[in-house]
Amino acid sequence: MDWSDFSQLLAGFWVTIGVSLAAVCIGVPCGLGLALIRWRKIPGLDGMVATLVSFLRAIPSVTLILLVYFAFPGIGLSLNRMEAAIFVLAVGTMAFDCEIWRGALIAFPRDQLDAAIACGMPRGLRFRRIVLPQITRACLPALMNEISLVIKVSPAVAVIGLVDTTRAATRIGADTYEPLKAFLASFVLYAVLIAAILAAQRLVARRIGAPA
């Protein structure tokens, strides 16, 4: 592996980071939306969301990305590699984010809601001022852990030919006939990134302290 190989690997690394970040930025708010649907127990939608989440949590990202990339054009939804990758990772993390948000919503103290109602706060304001800041705080460590999980499944996007870290390593391995070195290098990149995220997560969890 020479310098040009390494710069290829780094280019792939940026794709990994970009795709994962985009997925998290889409998945976390969508997960909150789904969690709110389940929290309010909106008839009909509640059951549908529960089924969707159960399904999405079960299906492997590799299978899902093949489905999205090869089968969606057939139903009139053509996504390029990058879009398909972000979509699949976002949808995958959304299901888990929904469960994280829902856990915090279920644990949210009823008396605070009653107090807000007694103060005459309308529903939107109640959610924005009272509920959201507190559940965000409670969910932050779990959501940060989710980021590391997204990065860990992100190599799945390599199967459709998007050149992320993993795909770059495969290419370099094929060019240099030294796949082990290429994968070791990519392993170091992933491990450092994920270790950094987990360290940040522990820091945040400590700052927030034990749940009151």
């Binding site: 492997p60 590799v62 299978t63 093949l66 089968a71 190599p155 993993t166 270790a195 987990l198």
Partner: protein, 216 residues
């Protein structure tokens, strides 16, 4: 409409893929569970080895499974070990998940009540006998929900084995879609079958939890 018919004609291929996925999951889950228990014991009893186990767990937690699979797949021949894709896949899944299982057992141990252990010691149990007869069952009971989730993770990670050409469920679906151009039908069916496998695991966990609740 035609696509579903073609798929039905080749349902044997899909079923074989499903069986291979189930086989991979069961073998690696059982092996990872045993290895996880072993590492958990090592960590608990041998303070000298404990940092090594800790390091292994941290390393696995920071590695994407596919990268680990590639490393195992390409490193083994260099050490003179020749494994086919299937066995290399089982080995990678087992080692990777053993680290997570060890962590889950440690977490369960942290909330394990001290009284039964004290009582066991008072009755003269010690060492492996104490662990096997007094600790093991309730420990697995406490860890069961998270062990179930990790098994679901094994099912999902097993799909990565398609990349090193193991002929599991995703491989079968991909073969059929490539031959007959019916991507939608084949991948949707594969996805539903994965869902089915995960629901079976969840139902199993729920059942054993209910049963262990009845025993108490």
């Amino acid at each position: 409409m035609n696509a579903w018919l073609i798929l039905a004609q080749h349902s044997g291929l899909i079923l074989r893929g499903l069986l291979v996925t189930a086989e991979i999951t069961v073998i690696s889950a059982v092996l990872a569970l045993l290895l996880g228990l072993f590492l958990f014991q090592l960590r608990l009893r041998f303070p000298l080895i404990s940092p090594l186990v800790r390091g292994f767990i941290d390393l696995m937690r920071c590695t994407p499974f596919l990268i680990f699979l590639y490393l195992v797949y390409y490193a083994l021949p260099g050490w003179g070990i020749e494994l086919d894709a299937f066995n290399a896949g089982i080995l990678a899944l087992t080692l990777y998940n053993a680290a997570y299982f060890t962590e889950l057992f440690s977490a369960a141990w942290a909330q394990f009540p001290r009284e039964p252990v004290e009582a066991g010691l008072a009755f003269g149990f010690h060492g492996f006998g104490l662990f096997r007869r007094i600790i093991l069952r309730p420990l697995i009971g406490i860890a069961l929900p998270s062990l179930g989730n990790q098994t679901i993770q094994i099912i999902k990670d097993s799909a990565f084995l398609v990349i090193v050409t193991v002929q599991e469920l995703t491989y079968a679906a991909n073969e059929i879609q490539a031959t007959y151009y019916i991507p939608f039908a084949s991948f949707v069916v594969a996805a539903l079958l994965y869902w089915g496998l995960c629901l079976i695991v969840e139902a199993g966990v729920r059942r054993s939890l209910r049963r262990s609740a009845q025993m108490l």
